[in-house]
């Protein structure tokens, strides 16, 4: 009998073109996503060395990081952003790469449009010059972010050179309580193991909570794997995965689909396979979460107090610097903290389920006067769903406006910047200093917590509004 393998081993080993002695594996990449920010220098490098794109059909380009979220029909006002967008289009055209630029019906955030169009499939290796490529692991793919040198590498050779990471399994068993979303599950895990707790590892999520979770929820969880330092996260494909993918435009059809199903069903960790680290959490311990610090590990249950320095894994000096930036103190309650902005969107929580959750709270209520809310769908397809399902009507009646798709205030490369000193409850993935604009203060949370803040103007337990 062969040695039991983990899901990660099965997918990784199937992609090793060559193992380099005392070196990394040469790993074949099935799908490569590119966007306007991390690809232009890669194409310049390619030209500099006289290389071409080896398999242009395996790369997909979309514009997202820089794009405005209003008036997308007009020329992009920022000349630097416009220049990057033009470079992406030019390079895609030159090398025959599929390009979903601004104005394209399928345009949106790279990690939203890949799955929703059926480009992302179980058992693939997927890379992109963006750390949240880990999102695609929700399908049982090995997916991770790379740097621009590696973008060039994949364009030129369809391979990258990587040492095989160690393996960690994180199981969450039981049933989550009222008002607890997938975002709360992953924020809870990160708060327990810290923002560097999974560095060096590839994570497999297992247990009841992930088995019963929707694909969109699984994407939220895998998306945030990088926020605890993991190279990526993955969840074994199951019927939920296949149901999501079947019929998506670019997913295999008919006989091609039928031939792949047995392979996809084999993609699970064998009985007896071992992990370098195996962690287990109880779903009952998870309540709606919120962060109070400047890394995603500094979060807690929304009804809790900000911990004292000795109770967190970060060193005291770094922790105090973090709280100083946020304008918070040890032992303060998070409930009732006044906020200024709400951002619903990003590759973490810019999908239709996130808008449904947000609408479930704001329905019949009014946006708080002190709150500026930026609601940004992850793609045009999500935008259309919001309209078709009547969610836009609910939002409009409650005093909210919908913006156009893009990365927006997650990293504030476009005009959507939170002003210095202001507090934003954000469904994005990072609360780093200045991430949402110089001096901006970010509280990461689920769409339900964001909605509760949007209608009350302060940090509120969403369970009171459900």
């Amino acid at each position: 009998m062969s040695t039991p393998k983990t899901l990660f081993d099965k997918v990784w080993d199937a992609h090793v073109v060559r193992h380099v002695d005392d070196g990394p594996d040469v790993l074949f990449i099935d799908r490569h996503f590119i966007h306007e920010v991390t690809s232009p220098v890669a194409f310049l490098g390619l030209e500099g060395r006289g290389a071409g794109v080896l398999f242009s059909g395996r790369t997909f380009a979309t514009a997202d990081h820089n794009t405005p979220t209003i008036n997308q029909h007009l020329p992009v006002a920022d000349p630097l952003s416009a220049n990057q967008l033009a470079a992406l289009e030019r390079n895609a055209t030159k090398y025959g790469i599929s390009h979903w630029g601004l104005g394209h019906i399928k345009n949106g955030i790279v990690h939203v449009v890949g799955p929703e169009n059926g480009i992302t499939l179980p058992g693939m290796t997927i890379v992109c010059g963006d750390s949240h490529t880990s999102t695609h692991g929700a399908f049982g793919a090995i997916a991770f972010g790379i740097g621009t040198s590696e973008v060039e590498m994949v364009l030129a050779t369809q391979c990258i050179m990587q040492p095989k990471p160690k393996k960690m399994r994180i199981s969450v068993n039981g049933t989550t309580g009222k008002g607890v979303l997938p975002k709360d599950v992953i924020l809870y895990i990160i708060s327990q193991i810290s923002a560097s707790g999974a560095t060096g590892y590839f994570v497999e999520y297992a247990g009841d909570v992930f088995e019963t979770m929707s694909m969109e929820g699984r994407m939220t969880v895998c998306n945030m794997s990088i926020e605890m330092g993991a190279r990526g996260g993955m969840i074994a494909p199951d019927q939920t995965t296949l149901n999501y993918l079947k019929g998506r435009e670019l997913a295999p059809k008919g006989e091609a689909w039928d031939k792949l199903v047995p392979y996809w069903e084999s993609l699970k960790t064998d009985e007896g396979a071992t992990f370098d680290v195996d962690l287990t959490f109880d779903a009952a311990d998870i309540e709606p979460q919120i962060t109070y610090g400047t890394n995603p590990g500094l979060g807690t249950g929304v009804t809790h107090q900000i911990p004292a320095a000795e109770a967190v894994k970060d060193g005291a000096a770094s922790y105090k610097k973090s709280l100083h930036y946020m304008g918070f103190s040890e032992n303060e309650s998070m409930i009732g903290k006044p906020i200024d902005f709400v951002f619903l969107g990003s590759c973490t929580n810019g999908r239709i389920e996130d808008f449904r959750a947000f609408a479930s709270i704001v329905k019949g209520r009014k946006k708080a006067d002190n709150v500026t809310a930026w609601l940004v769908p992850g793609s045009h397809i999500v935008e259309k769903q919001i309209k078709d399902e009547g969610i836009l009507d609910i939002l409009t009646e409650s005093g909210f406006q919908l913006r156009q798709p893009g990365c927006s205030a997650c990293l504030a490369m476009n005009d959507d910047k939170i002003p210095a000193g202001k507090y934003a409850v954000s469904t994005s993935n990072r609360n780093f200093e200045g991430r949402q604009g110089p001096g901006a203060r970010t509280l990461l949370a689920s769409p339900l917590v964001a909605a509760a803040a949007a209608v009350t103007g302060k940090v509120t337990d969403p369970r009171e509004l459900i």
Binding site: D22, T38, D78, G147, M161, T199, R231, L411, P438
Partner: protein, 203 residues
Amino acid sequence: MAYDKFNILRSTAVPMPIENVDTDQIIPARFLKATERKGFGDNLFRDWRYNSDNTPKADFVLNNPTYSGEGSPRKILVGGKNFGSGSSREHAAWAIYDYGFRCVVSSFFADIFKNNCLNIGILPVTVSPEFADKIFAAIEADPKTELEVNLPAQTITLLATGESEGFAINGYKKHNLINGFDDIDYLLSMKSEIETFAETRPF
């Protein structure tokens, strides 16, 4: 891309004993809009280094004449635990390189950042937390303290006291850094092997 060969580096160092220095601090997103790889050093640690009116913040280490004054430029940056966390933006490594650093030392690096450094010719040296503390203490006692990073021998040494520690590096990456080679040259030499492999993929 081609980069400087790395062999033995002797230099004074800039201390930054802060944990979780993320890539948004190393280079904020608004400075990622270039389509060419130049000038990123000017915006290295932008928001820690400058006020919003572009005047330097006096209390930031890169603005401290003790660490940034004339004389031999400091080529080693010593950071706190979990250095380079966050985004995969290689621009962070470019900014560090463009500013003049050739080696970053920490007790713990984020994975993608470490890879990005190796891919552009910056040597990331992982030391024990104890040795990191010794380096910080030595620099605090004497800002002119020199470090020697010996890649062939895989050692880092405080020259004044001779205290030394070994560090790990993948043999392939070591060979590349010493010779100024990059992965793409290696992979291009495997082209037909890769093309044959691609035919076996089911999608």
